[in-house]
């Protein structure tokens, strides 16, 4: 198996008296979908926030492309090529999709106007339209506020944003949680497309059928520690759930 693109070793994190992560491990490789699963309170969201730069770990190390790194801010993560689709989407509802796509990375006009901060809205809109087209996202009114889009459309905007900017790793935290059947299918297609372009995709999901369908590998977190790793093709949903709930005990599952 190839070298992990991003890996976490022995991450610890406490919030007051609560030990959310007690030496958790994780790894993801380029061109694969690695699912991070676990029951409520297992520490999935905390681990994702640490790896995407939103939280700082108390202990442990993070390695990116083999080097040890400290990801201290979401911008630091971005500079490494890591993008995140947060569970709460982190979209600005009153801005349009193009503005959201380019949030924090706005394009400015060339020359003097650009130095004064004048936005190149036309260019941003063009590239957003292209990104949507490439990713198969159909939006009728791209000038509308994100708040006026349906839940599924908003999710698509958030996923497209990450997919557009990502160069190495993308985290997707519950990307289809609020979606209907058709829209979930679209997002899953999107995820596959991203994976096929060589990006490492980390999928956090409660939706076990979806996990089994999408993931190449599955890593199970329980009570703040990794308890099992599976190749999706070689395991069953029951086995994974058993690992999640502790029925299998604290042992390493099969590693390919």
């Amino acid at each position: 198996m190839s070298e992990p693109l991003l890996e976490a070793n022995g991450i610890t994190k406490s919030f007051g008296g609560v030990r959310a992560l007690r030496g958790a491990d994780f790894a993801v490789h380029p061109g694969e979908v690695a699912a991070l699963v676990g029951d409520n309170g297992a520490g999935k969201s905390t681990l994702v926030k640490i790896l995407s730069g939103t939280l700082a770990p108390d202990g442990g190390e993070i390695r990116f492309e083999g080097r040890q790194v400290a990801i201290e801010h979401p911008v630091a993560a971005r500079e490494l090529g890591i993008e995140t689709v947060y569970q709460d989407l982190a979209l600005a509802p009153e801005l349009d999709p193009a503005a959201n796509l380019f949030l924090g990375r706005e394009l400015v006009r060339p020359g003097l106007l650009g130095r004064l901060g004048f936005l190149d809205k036309a260019a941003m809109r063009r590239r957003t339209n292209k990104a949507f087209a490439d990713l198969g996202v159909g939006l009728q009114d791209t000038g509308a506020m994100v708040a006026n889009l349906s839940g599924g459309q908003r999710q698509s905007v958030a996923v497209s944003r990450a997919a557009t900017w990502v160069s190495k790793v993308v985290f997707m935290d519950e990307p289809t949680a609020a979606l209907g059947v058709v829209q979930s299918a679209h997002v899953r297609d999107l995820i596959r497309r991203v994976r096929d372009s060589g990006i490492a995709v980390v999928l956090i999901s409660h939706n076990m059928p979806e996990v089994m369908e999408l993931a190449d590998r599955i890593e199970v977190l329980r009570l703040g520690v990794r308890v099992a790793r599976y190749q999706a093709a070689d395991t069953t949903m029951e086995q994974v759930i058993a690992a999640m709930t502790g029925a299998l005990g604290s042992e390493e599952g099969e590693v390919a």
């Binding site: 500079e79 801005l95 924090g104 260019a123 949507f132 087209a133 009728q140 160069s167």
Partner: protein
Amino acid sequence: MSETREVPPAEVPDEVAPEPAGNGLRAVLRRRLTETTTWTFLILLGIVAGFAALRFQQFATVFNFRNIAADASGLLIIAVGMTFVIITSGIDLSVGSVLVFSGVIAAKVMLAIGGEGWGAIGAGLVAGLVAGLAWGVVNGVLVTKARVPPLIVTLGTLGMALGSALLITGGIDVRGVPLQLTTTIGIGQLGGVPYVVIIAAAVTAVGAVTLSMTRFGRYTYAIGSNAEAARRAGIDVDRHLIKVYALSGLLAGLAGMVSLARFATTTIGGHSTDNLAAIAAVVLGGTSLFGGIGTVLGTLVGVFIPAILQNGFVILGVQPFWQQVAVGAVLIVAVYIDQLKRRAQERGERR
């Protein structure tokens, strides 16, 4: 904040993607016409038409409109700053007091330097602007670093700025400002347009362009819409908010300079309700108190509704208190309609 220009992979072929229906002219117009600003503008036109119909020769004259504009110039300058603040879902109650404080500082500096020349006047004006900016920075720092809600912070600086002004002056207006300031900028005109109107118009234009076309404006909207999302996107939210409150303070200072020029006295007692008038103007113009939505052009319309109502009512001979009732009623109706529209939009999209 990252300085590297990150470029999305989709950049190189800058071909035209299939244009979705949202960017055509008709769609843009449709969006514009349903916005609150347009309705407020129609209300304004309605009011103007109404007064013109009732008292044409008295109301609809260049003389009258020129005076209305000159009288509204100070409030417009403050309201432009307030627009930025409210779009970030903040508020600035201290503007009237900062206006007075800036005027006091400027007048004192002019008197201290002495003489009637532009040197003294210029120094005083700069001092007044700096004073306004300083209060704005105080507001911004307290809101961002001390994490005190803007309502409380600016309520505090409202008291502190006015109190400081009263301390410095002993409660009495400072008079004796160089006459040149009043005769040129204060009541002078350029091509038939009063200088104070030109200044207010320039502030409005710069404010409108900045808000709608620059990164600074977009960050203002983003922070008001979802500050956490902005933070995660790498925007230095704290620094931006300090700049926005500083801008509000600076413009309050500028309004203080304009007032000083017009009246040649610091008018300490006349600005206790400027903050509410500015907020009402901004909200009337379509800016949402919850942040993320609003325009400077809307504020321009919003400033003139109370101004024209007051003027028209005096011309009609209506008792002064009816003016306040009317302005309050229009404000409530305008915001109510805005709420109805929003709720309809929400209901419509929940499929």
